[in-house]
């Protein structure tokens, strides 16, 4: 994520293009059921969603099944995607996360009726819409500004679903160091994004 200024800028530009085109692809699916857009999204995101789910402890087969289900949900729910509220990648991430949570829930408690929920709801004010647009940019910049060791702990906690103790063991660090790095990283993210 970090590198020399020039290469980092090129990478950021490429990522920005990819993100913008992903959002446009989702909107095209919503508008005109565009299969070509869907195929592009599938090629870009299905392998990454599978990677996320593998990191969360799913078997290769289960991760592949859930990655497919995630992209099917992208197709089905494209009409509810609002680029002013979340980026395409964040929206796809929440779909994958919710499917993983639902799958775990079904596995543990087949009788539970509370299958799945979303933490997102409609923005209520123009200010929230504006904040939504700015949020993605702020998060990207804040992530790029994080020290490498904080980013590593953040990724392992959030993306890979590892417990603090497991991270400490894997990185050969005291538990307190892991907790403080994560606390600093999250605090930095909140501060940077909320300052905008």
């Amino acid at each position: 994520m970090r590198g020399s200024d020039g290469s980092a800028k090129v990478k950021l530009d490429i990522e920005k293009d990819r993100r913008l085109s992903a959002a446009e692809d989702i909107l095209r699916i919503a508008r005109s059921e565009d299969r070509a857009s869907f195929v592009r999204l599938f090629m870009a995101f299905a392998p990454r969603v599978k990677s996320y789910l593998r990191h969360q402890g799913l078997s290769s087969e289960a991760a592949e099944d859930l990655a497919q289900e995630t992209l099917i949900n992208v197709w089905r729910k494209a009409g509810s995607f609002d680029p002013s509220r979340a980026s395409a990648s964040a929206w796809i991430f929440t779909i994958a996360r919710n499917l993983r949570v639902d799958a775990l829930r079904r596995e543990r408690r087949p009788s539970l009726l509370t299958d799945g929920f979303s933490s997102q709801s409609e923005p209520k004010t123009p200010e929230e819409v504006y904040v939504g647009r700015e949020r993605e940019r702020g998060v990207r910049q804040a992530l790029n500004a994080l020290p490498r060791e904080q980013l590593e702990v953040l990724r392992m906690s959030f993306f890979m679903g590892r417990a603090h103790g497991d991270i400490a063991e894997e990185l050969n660090l005291p538990l307190g160091t892991v907790k403080s790095r994560l606390r600093l990283a999250v605090s930095h993210l909140r501060t940077r994004v909320e300052q905008r």
Partner: protein, 189 residues
């Protein structure tokens, strides 16, 4: 204006999907009522999106795309957006039309009460309020208590408190989900 919110750690765990079901439902109840916490969750979900973009690719099977395309052909049209998304837990509550019985669950375990002081308690106040440890919790507020911190809460106006409660049992460690209503307290597993 809500005054008591989940800690950043709890919001982080909620956004990453790490919270167990019972506390996740209570946090979701607060998030629906709190624009500030919604914004924080949205920020954390953007982190998830950014990490997803940066994730290494895990190649999909050769037939995966074909299977998915076949599936979306059978699914016909993408779902039309339904105005005003909300979390499913409250949709269930609204649909039920019942004021005191939360249609969330299930069976009533006496074990939750027999085990004494819970190890962790999350509460989202839906109506009324209570006082605990010098703080006042009113409608929309979120209480987060650990290791015996939830001691003898005082209900502000008896009979008016409605709240969604998740508590972690001290011995077995599992979470229970419950609701407090004007006429009864109900505990779910």
């Amino acid at each position: 204006m809500l005054s008591v919110h989940p800690s950043t750690g709890v919001l982080w765990d909620h956004a990453s999907g790490a919270l167990p079901t019972a506390p996740a439902i209570v946090v979701a109840a607060h998030i629906e009522l709190c624009a500030g916490c919604r914004a924080t969750i949205a920020t954390f979900e953007e982190v998830g999106g950014a990490l997803l973009c940066d994730a290494p690719v895990a190649p999909m099977g050769l037939a995966a795309l074909g299977r998915v395309l076949k599936c979306i052909e059978q699914a016909a049209h993408p779902e039309a957006p339904i105005g005003g998304r909300c979390s499913r837990w409250s949709a269930r509550l609204r649909a039920s039309g019942q004021r005191d019985l939360w249609p969330i669950l299930l069976r009533t375990p006496a074990s939750a009460r027999r085990q004494g002081q819970p190890a962790e308690v999350f509460i989202c106040v839906l109506a009324g309020g209570f006082r605990s440890g010098g703080a006042v919790y009113r409608a929309g507020d979120f209480g987060e208590f650990r290791r015996g911190g939830f001691i003898k809460p005082t209900i502000l106006r008896r009979g008016r408190l409605r709240a969604l409660v998740a508590m972690r049992r001290p011995r077995e460690g599992g979470w229970a989900l419950g609701s407090v209503g004007p006429k009864h307290t109900r505990t779910y597993t």
